[in-house]
């Protein structure tokens, strides 16, 4: 067991100018499950591969425990990796696949057999030990890949989107299995995914990357409740947060016909570059449907209602007499409101909603950073 530290780790691919990973500083505690998450091309896989030793580190260093592994060969780093396509050795049986690393290391045969069988028992693979990977289903292959990592008893597990080749149902099931397995084994784990739900459900802590730059690290709760900037706010959470940029007037943001009062420290944090505007975000569940005319409420015209059984979401557009500001959630250009599934408005209706007190997130319009 060991900690993992990225110390200003930088990777620049030959022939490119912008670093794929730029000055990454990250400390992962012993036994922690850290999830690297971000949109594709954000440098999360590259960071993981740098830790694995599959990518060169062009600047800074990487430590496993107290040992500087920046220039150490992958095989000497005492790590195990699960690949997105599993990378099982097609000509070897499941047992040989799992025991391959031990065989290379010269472990006695009896011990290999014993450790492989233990891992197979944990992963429910005992009856498949003599099969070739070709004869396994996707989920079984995924478990073999996990088994190959477990058998080695490494200091760190690295997982590169291990669930993305599974179907949706199996993914949810395996997600829980991996998380509970990791808690049980207590091995430090770095997990890469582009799926923020996976990140929220599995990680002890989450690190969000964008364009090779670390945006924020924190527990799932921290990421959800206090996103450090507009990007994290929009990325974490499903459905996505409603975010818009609005004029500030007399210490309040003008959202539609409503005035959202801002704290004094936030207003003081505004600079000239913001040009009197502020970015406000609020999650779909932070909105209450209120009777029309309630102070601080604004109107949303319903375009579509999504019913999920336990919840229902209204996708609509912000109605405003002043016509100022754009408000949208994620990639859609609509406002999302969570409503009571027993009391659903019709398409085309106009509903009045108000932000629950203290549930708004305020960001600088120019820098995107959180205010206050």
């Amino acid at each position: 067991m060991a900690t993992v530290t990225f110390d200003h780790a930088t990777r620049v691919y030959p022939g490119t100018e912008r670093p794929a990973v730029d000055q990454l500083n990250l400390h992962i505690e012993d036994g922690e499950f850290l999830v690297l998450v971000g949109p594709s091309g954000c440098g999360k896989s590259t960071s993981l591969r740098m830790l694995a030793g599959l990518e060169d580190v062009n600047g800074g260093r990487i430590l496993i425990g107290d040992r500087d592994v920046t220039d150490v060969q992958p095989k000497d780093r005492d790590i195990a990796m699960v690949f997105q396509n599993y990378a099982l050795y097609p000509h070897m049986s499941v047992a040989d696949n799992m025991g391959f690393a031990l065989k290379i290391a010269g472990t006695p045969k009896a011990e290999i057999r014993q450790r492989v069988e233990e891992a197979a028992k944990i992963l429910d693979l005992t009856e498949y030990l003599d099969r070739k990977p070709k004869a396994l289903s996707g989920g079984q292959r995924q478990r073999v890949a996990m088994g190959r990592a477990i058998v080695r008893q490494p200091q760190v597990f690295l997982m590169d989107e291990p669930l993305s080749n599974l179907d949706a149902k199996l993914r949810v099931q395996t997600r829980t299995q991996i998380a509970s397995l990791q808690r049980r084994l207590g091995v430090t784990t770095v997990y890469v995914t582009h799926d923020q739900t996976e990140a929220l459900t599995m990680g002890d802590r989450i690190a969000v990357l964008k364009g090779g730059v670390l945006q924020q690290v924190g527990t799932p709760r921290e990421m959800y409740d206090a996103p450090a900037n507009v990007f994290v706010a929009g990325f974490i959470g499903s459905p996505a947060m409603n975010i818009g940029t609005f004029d500030v007037k007399e210490g309040a943001a003008l959202v539609g016909n409503a005035q959202i009062p801002l704290e004094r420290s936030m207003v003081a944090g505004l600079t000239d570059a913001d040009a009197g505007k502020v970015t406000v975000g609020f999650r779909p569940e932070s909105l209450d449907v209120v009777p029309s005319g309630t102070p601080g409420s604004f109107q949303v015209q319903v375009n579509i209602v999504e019913e999920l059984g336990s919840d229902a979401y209204v996708y609509g557009s912000l109605q405003s007499d002043l016509g100022t500001g754009e408000l949208s959630a994620g990639d859609s250009d609509q406002v999302i409101v969570r409503i009571n599934p027993r009391d659903v408005p019709m398409k085309g209706d106009i509903i009045n909603v108000a932000i629950k007190a203290g549930h708004e997130h305020v960001f600088s319009a120019s820098s995107g950073n959180r205010l206050g």
Binding site: L54, K75, A101
Partner: protein, 297 residues
């Protein structure tokens, strides 16, 4: 109940609980034209071979009287005499050494060269691949005189090494062209997984590349074996001592020596075909597999 309600009027409902076993595997005869063309082609291919094999079972007088007849009576002395002759076995041994030596050389050198071209990044890699590919357009006929001079300078005339080395060289282009895409198809993640598991680059080559490329290696090996077994021109130039003759040379030599004894020549010829024929039919499936197969995870 509900199912029958949806049927168009007039159709009987299927009896529940019974299954009609449809003979979907029933043999489907193709069009007669297909069979005609196939038969003509087969006859064209098999005819001469059959004539040679059957001719060996006849006497010279039978052949002269009726060149296209069947053996009547069947004569086995031609075959037994050839099988008991020393020159046949010498030629057979030489052919076997030459073909096996070539195969081993081609496979070992071919896999190594292809691995480097397929998976290492270095300057001049593309040029090297094209150079090997260009070897395909270079027939041995063109090169035979300088090749002979070179072999003579090396002092390898009248030795099997003198034909094995050029045969390896001429078989390498095909081998590399077949093997490079094969080795390239091995996923990069496999190499990375192996390197994390502790395998060095050479370890990866031995433990992963060799087993995974086996179908391709077998294909190229067989092609090299058969090319060497059937090679005529190169041995003709290099070998002049009857003790070093390979089978094609042996057949030619035997034919000129016993030109009157047609039946015996036919027996010798058919016997010399057998090993290559067996080899080919044994591995025929593997050859096709190696040409189409890539590695699947």
């Amino acid at each position: 109940m509900s199912a029958s309600a949806t049927l168009p009027a007039g159709l009987p409902t299927a009896t529940p609980g019974t299954y009609e076993v449809r003979s979907s595997r029933k043999f489907q005869w193709g069009s007669p034209l297909t069979y005609l063309i196939a038969l003509v082609l087969i006859a064209a291919c098999i005819g001469p071979v059959l004539y040679i094999v059957l001719g060996g079972f006849r006497t010279n007088s039978q052949i002269t009287e009726d060149p296209s007849g069947l053996p009547a009576p069947w004569v086995f002395t031609n075959y037994t005499e050839v099988l008991s002759s020393e020159s046949f076995w010498i030629a057979m041994t030489n052919s076997a050494i030459s073909a096996l030596g070539t195969t081993v050389g081609v496979v070992v050198l071919g896999v190594m060269a292809s691995y480097v071209i397929a998976r290492y990044q270095f300057a001049g890699k593309g040029v090297m691949y094209s150079l090997f590919a260009a070897g395909l357009m270079f027939p041995m006929t063109v090169a035979i005189t300088p090749l002979y001079l070179m072999v003579r300078t090396l002092g390898l005339t009248n030795t099997l090494a003198g034909i094995i080395l050029p045969q390896i060289a001429f078989a390498l282009p095909t081998t590399i062209i077949i093997l490079v895409p094969f080795l390239r198809a091995i996923p990069k993640e496999l190499e990375e997984a192996a390197s994390i598991d502790g395998a060095s680059r050479l370890g990866f080559f031995w433990r992963m590349v060799i087993p995974l490329s086996l179908p391709g290696v077998i294909t190229t090996g067989i092609l090299a074996f058969i090319a060497a077994w059937n090679g005529y021109m190169l041995p003709l130039f290099i070998l002049s001592d009857p003790n070093t003759f390979t089978l094609p040379l042996g057949v030619a030599n035997f034919a000129s020596q016993y030109s009157v004894d047609t039946a015996k020549v036919l027996a010798f010829t058919s016997l010399s075909m057998i090993p290559a024929l067996i080899f080919f039919s044994l591995f025929e499936k593997r050859i096709v597999g190696g040409l189409t197969g890539a590695i699947k995870g």
